[in-house]
């Protein structure tokens, strides 16, 4: 028993800071508290986030607002079919120095930022989409044999439109698996719409009242790393992932990267909840966002109209937190 839990006094300022970020996002963008919580969780877990929703729901505004609150650099790239990898990663340009010497000089692309907003990522060609693979996984860019690290922190927040699919290129499984979360941005309710119209002139978001510094953000990441993950919760995560492989309609279940993502996201969720340990509920809360884009369904699912969301719900419902091997007629219930 050499490891020591984060003590309440150590944990408290970080929890307050993380919740302040969340509260600020909720203030700037109305009516999407749960979405904001998942986004903050994803950021704290240092994961990339894929936002899916029809145009006009505020996906870009969310990314911008997050960049403002976090006080880090944000760049936006509008993905189009003719976008080339060099347009994102950067390129070597032949330049002449004052001494007349000509040499290739690297011109960084927009990927060299803290938050890259890849708008409508599915409109770029697979070649361009694949250019982001190394950047997302290794947080580095290799060009002409030279590897250049990306700034810390680095996140990709991508958006895609589930309609108007003509002329788009669905993300390959290898790339979609690199997104920690796939979040569905849905319509807001009438009250929220009313509030937006009444309080936001031309929909402009208010300026953030607080910003966290880069150091504070890195301290939050360190705190997340110190959140304790009990072995029983690790096993629950493993069983959840394994259960996705045995479900009906599933052609390909979640990958080990999904299990790692669940653990990391669970830690971030625990921090937001003010705890130094990951509980089963933390995992359950993030399981949907982690797993829903990592399950590849077969043709029968298409015929029967089954969505990945239903599979995840089924997996969560059928997997007990603790494999007790109790008889079927015996159950432990809330008092």
């Amino acid at each position: 028993m050499t490891e020591t839990l984060l003590q309440p006094d150590e944990l408290r300022p970080h929890v307050e800071r993380a919740n302040a970020i969340l509260a600020e996002l909720n203030r700037i963008l109305l009516g999407r508290n749960e979405l904001h919580r998942m986004v903050v969780t994803g950021i704290l877990a240092r994961g990339h986030i894929l936002l899916e929703g029809v145009p006009g729901l505020g996906k870009t505004a969310l990314a911008k607002g997050l960049g403002d609150v976090l006080g880090i650099e944000l760049r936006r790239v509008q993905f189009t079919p003719d976008l080339m990898p060099g347009d994102i990663l950067g390129t070597n340009i032949l330049q002449e120095s004052e001494s007349g010497h000509r040499a290739l000089q690297f011109q960084p692309g927009p990927v060299f930022t803290n938050v890259l907003l890849a708008d409508e990522i599915n409109r770029a060609s697979p070649k361009t989409q694949s250019a982001l693979l190394e950047a997302m996984q290794e947080r580095a860019v290799t060009l002409l044999g030279t590897t250049r690290p990306l700034p810390v922190p680095f996140f990709v927040m991508a958006s895609q439109n589930p309609i108007e699919l003509e002329g788009t290129y669905p993300l390959p499984e290898a790339q979609i698996d690199r997104f920690l979360f796939k979040l569905h941005v849905s319509h807001v309710d009438v009250d929220t719409l009313e509030e937006i119209i009444f309080t936001r002139r031309r929909g402009e978001t208010p300026q953030p009242q607080m910003r966290v510094t880069r150091e504070e953000l890195l301290a939050l990441f360190d705190t997340v790393d110190r959140i304790y993950l009990p072995r029983a919760v690790s096993r629950y995560i493993a069983r959840l992932v394994a259960a996705t492989h045995t479900q009906k309609y599933v052609s390909l279940g979640a990958s080990p990267r999904a299990a790692i993502a669940l653990a990391e996201a669970g830690r971030a969720e625990a921090l937001l909840s003010g705890r130094p340990t990951v509980g089963f509920d933390d995992v359950k809360r993030v399981a949907f966002a982690v797993l829903n884009h990592r399950i590849i369904l077969d043709y029968r699912a298409r015929l029967d109209g089954v969505k990945p969301q239903q599979i995840v719900e089924e997996v969560l419902a059928s997997t007990e937190e603790v494999a007790m091997s109790l008889p079927a007629d015996v159950a432990v219930q809330h008092a």
């Binding site: 028993m1 050499t2 490891e3 020591t4 839990l5 003590q7 309440p8 006094d9 304790y228 993950l229 009990p230 072995r231 029983a232 919760v233 625990a270 909840s273 705890r275 130094p276 340990t277 990951v278 509980g279 089963f280 509920d281 933390d282 937190e321 603790v322 494999a323 007790m324 091997s325 109790l326 008889p327 007629d329 015996v330 159950a331 432990v332 219930q333 809330h334 008092a335």
Partner: protein, 440 residues
């Protein structure tokens, strides 16, 4: 339940789990034990054995031990219990961390211990049914489970054994036959059971009949001997008490009629006296033997009368008077002895014109008299086959009326006795056949 001690909460949850798992497992084992116990009880009653109580208690204790062992096998690990309590009590991993890392200032608390729910209805019902089966097996009367019970034939067997002993003492039965009969009686006494009483009773009847027959044959033989002994005694007495001179006695001894009585051996006077006394003594012994048989019910008392009658000397005085007058060897003593023999009372077949009788005539003026037929001998039952033994008492007074046999289905005046039933699938065809319209 309110508690803040997480260790106590884990212990409490484990106790609850252990209790439920034990109870569940015990119900399963108890159901089996009750079922087996019920079957064993029924079998014991079937075989007429009264089982002791301790095997039941031992099996019950074994079920408890087995259930405890099985429950311990199925108990989740300590870590799993902690994880379960953490999940149910929504401790967010703090409880699990308590047992793995240094908690510092963190103090996880469990406000409510989850309860262990068990859907026991099915198992409880099954066990209750098995227990009810055991109870019914315990209280069900033995006669309903078996018809095997010892027949109360001891008194009959003892009576027959004493008879066989008596017959053996009186030399009526040969020793081998008496031994065989006694062996049969011993076997019958140990094996006679209520499931086949007829065989036991038939065997008893057979042995009883054999003893009676042996006694009857001995009695007939004794009567015959008594007649012969009476002739010998009477002749000897007449020849010795008649005052015959030597010559007349020698002539009488050489007479064929006299020799027929005295077995052809010429005897002097002294020898004749001894012969008469010996014949009398033998007759007395035979009389005593027959009296014993009669007292033990082996012989009809009438037989004693017949014996006495056969043993009477009859008109021996007249023969003696006649022989007193014979002097000098000029008497035909043999003729007188033969005449005396014919005049003796005793068994005779009567004259030729005597009316015929068959004995035990009906007292109903020739009308039919119902008589119970004698029991068949046991040997005739050897080929019988026992098809089944009912567990119930036989019902009386429900005899079915006699049926008409093959003519049963025939209606009065209906003609043929053959009226086959029409199968349901043929009714349509038969109906169409009879309802068809005649051809134009």
């Amino acid at each position: 339940m309110q508690t803040t001690d997480s260790v106590a909460a884990v212990s409490m949850l484990r106790r609850r789990l252990a209790s439920v798992l034990f109870a569940r497992q015990w119900l399963v084992y108890a159901a089996f034990a009750f079922l087996l116990g019920g079957v064993a009880l029924l079998l014991a009653k079937r075989w007429g054995v009264t089982p002791p109580l301790w095997p039941g208690l031992l099996i019950l204790a074994l079920t408890v031990a087995a259930a405890a062992w099985r429950a311990s096998q199925r108990m989740p690990s300590h870590a799993a219990t902690i994880a379960l309590l953490d999940a149910q009590a929504q401790c967010g991993g703090l409880l699990m961390a308590q047992y793995a890392v240094d908690m510092g200032d963190w103090r996880p608390s469990v406000t409510r211990i989850p309860r262990v729910a068990w859907r026991a209805k099915r198992q409880a019902t099954l066990t209750a049914m098995c227990a009810a089966f055991l109870l019914v097996s315990a209280i069900v009367p033995a006669r309903a489970t078996t018809s095997r019970h010892a027949l109360a034939i001891d008194a009959d067997v003892e009576k027959l054994e004493s008879r066989i002993e008596l017959l053996t003492e009186e030399n009526v039965l040969p020793a081998e036959r008496a031994d065989a009969m006694e062996a049969a009686l011993e076997e019958l006494k140990s094996d006679a059971a209520g499931d086949d009483p007829a065989k036991a009773w038939e065997t008893l009847d057979s042995i009883d009949e054999a003893t009676m027959r042996a006694a009857e044959e001995a009695a007939a033989e004794s009567v015959q001997k008594a007649a012969e002994l009476a002739q010998t005694e009477g002749t000897a007495m007449a020849l010795t008490d008649g005052g015959l001179d030597r010559e007349t006695l020698e002539n009488a001894m050489n007479d064929p009629e006299t020799q027929k009585v005295l077995n052809g051996t010429p005897l002097d006077e002294e020898q004749l006296r001894k012969l008469g006394a010996s014949a009398r003594a033998k007759k007395g012994k035979l009389r005593d033997s027959l009296s014993k048989l009669s007292r033990n019910g082996l012989l009809d008392p009438k037989r004693l009368g017949e014996f006495d009658k056969a043993g009477e000397l009859g008109k021996a005085e007249k023969l003696r008077e006649f022989l007193k007058e014979c002097k000098g060897g000029n008497c035909k003593v043999g003729d007188k002895v033969a005449k005396w023999r014919r005049s003796r009372p005793g068994l005779g077949r009567g004259r030729g014109d005597a009316p015929m009788f068959f004995g035990e005539e009906s007292a109903q003026n020739g009308k039919f008299k119902e008589e119970t037929l004698p029991a068949a001998s046991a040997a005739q039952l050897a080929d019988n086959e026992l098809l089944a033994v009912s567990a119930l008492e036989p019902e009386h007074g429900h005899a079915l009326p006699s049926s008409g046999g093959a003519l049963d289905p025939a209606q009065a005046g209906g003609g043929s006795a053959l009226t086959p039933a029409v199968q349901p699938r043929h009714r349509g065809t038969v109906q169409r056949f009879f309802e068809r319209k005649p051809k134009q």
